[in-house]
């Protein structure tokens, strides 16, 4: 690897270091160097959202971020959703609603939906559809995904009240 840069970052709460060439995308660095293959490569050009992660809490396509840009930042991937072996309410409801078939788009949808619910704990259907417009699914037809997000939002609001 010529001209590799050492990048120190935090991924899902853990300090991580990786070395990558400066033209490598964060998506490739996360998959091939950090081993987080929940970050999926769909289009590689920002259209499909399969590689969605958050960078300092901001939802982004990791294919449109350079690996070197992660220096000193906080990255969250789908691998960070489950806590202590407990699935996130979004993951539970995606299973419950069968909101997936082949599963390639699912990590991106989960990360994007989590970002939405952090900003807006009670989104209506239109808000969900707009917020997930950057995530493409070619199997389920979106309806089950929207319902799963609504159900998870409800679960999360309930859990908060408790």
């Amino acid at each position: 690897m010529s001209n590799a840069t050492l990048v120190s970052t935090v991924v899902n709460g853990d300090a991580v270091q990786f070395a990558c060439p400066s033209d490598e995308s964060l998506m490739t660095a996360l998959r091939d160097r950090v081993g987080l293959t929940g970050v999926k490569e769909g289009c590689g050009t920002g259209d499909c959202g399969a590689c969605s992660v958050t960078l300092d809490g901001q939802l982004v396509c990791s294919c449109l971020v350079l690996g070197v840009e992660a220096e000193g930042r906080n990255v969250e991937t789908v691998e960070g959703l489950a806590q202590d072996g407990q699935l996130h309410p979004l993951q539970e409801q995606f299973i419950e609603h069968a909101a997936l078939q082949c599963g390639i788009c699912t990590p991106g949808f989960l990360v994007a939906a989590k970002a939405l619910l952090e900003r807006n704990p009670n989104p209506n259907e239109t808000e969900i559809r707009y917020a997930l417009a950057g995530n493409l699914c070619r199997c389920t037809g979106y309806d089950k995904i929207v319902r799963a997000v609504q159900a998870a939002a409800k679960d999360m609001r309930k859990a908060k009240r408790r």
Binding site: S22, L64, L66, A112
Partner: protein, 286 residues
């Protein structure tokens, strides 16, 4: 490819001036990294503007607003004062891509990518926005309509970058609006984009600026369209004149999104709708 993250615009300009190979500025990367992936660009140097402190700020001054070149669209939407002053500019910036893109894309990048269909550009032009350009030796301020010189081309020298975009303080009874037409509801490239800004006096349009996108090699300011509105309270005749002036200013391409004829006609239709919204936002009653 080398990656640099200078702390000032001056330092960035110095890096650009020294570079002998292909150098590119990196804002949100939502255009540049797509081109990198496609092999359309082969940079020797990429200069990230996101570590320039000034480029990350939205400043409210006596003269208006200064929006740093690294500020992503998502932050414009959250800025209440900006949203109130220039709703058309904010709604245009908000149309760029998905939430994922919104977290990264910048006004400066939208402008410097110089796509004829860039959504925020007509809105910035109608609002009278200016680009503050920093070079290795000097600074200059250029009206946004003068920045793009053709598809993918700008007036920036090889050592220059945009540090910020300024928007004036809107006068009383001023309103702006941006509308674009796309075949889908999200995530598509404008077939036509129209921005209108009006300032009223005693219920009538005192001054106006009308800008079109996606109908010429660059976004264009259309003075004849603005003249059609001045002195009127947006009666049907004024709106028809506006539509004719917009259609007459079109010099579009034919592509899968729209034919020349369609784009030309649509520019007039959208202009009427955008003018009504801008007029209402300025407090006008028709």
């Amino acid at each position: 490819m080398r990656y640099e993250k200078p702390a000032t615009a001056k330092e960035a300009a110095g890096l650009l001036a020294k570079e002998k190979g292909a150098a590119f500025l990196l804002g949100g990367g939502t255009d540049l990294l797509v081109k990198l992936k496609m092999g359309m660009v082969e940079p020797d140097l990429v200069v990230d503007v996101k570590h320039i402190a000034k480029a990350n700020e939205i400043q409210t001054t006596a003269k208006g607003f200064s929006i740093g070149a690294a500020v992503p669209s998502a932050r414009l939407t959250e800025h209440k004062a900006l949203q109130k002053a220039w709703p058309g500019v904010v709604e245009a910036a908000n149309l760029i891509g998905s939430d994922q893109i919104q977290g990264r894309c910048t006004l400066a990048g939208n402008l410097c990518n110089a796509s004829p269909a860039a959504d925020s550009v007509p809105a910035m032009i109608a609002a009278g926005a200016k680009a503050v350009i920093v070079g290795a030796k000097k600074r200059r301020t250029v009206p946004v309509e003068k920045v793009a010189t053709g598809p993918g081309q700008t007036c920036l020298g090889s050592d220059e970058l945009i540090e910020s975009i300024t928007l004036p303080k809107p006068g009383p009874r001023t309103g702006d609006a941006y509308l674009r037409f796309i075949p889908r509801t999200e995530m598509d490239i404008a077939v036509v984009g129209v921005a209108v800004c009006v300032t009223l006096e005693r219920g009538r349009v005192k001054t106006a600026r009308v800008a079109l996108g996606a109908v010429a090699p660059t976004a264009i300011l259309v003075p004849a369209a603005a003249r059609a509105l001045v002195g009127t309270s947006l009666d049907d005749e004024a709106l028809e004149k506006l539509a004719r002036a917009c259609s007459a200013a079109c010099n579009p391409i034919d592509d899968k999104r729209g034919t020349v004829e369609y784009r030309t006609r649509l520019a007039g239709v959208l202009a009427k709708r955008a003018a009504k919204i801008a007029f209402a936002r300025a407090g006008g009653k028709s």
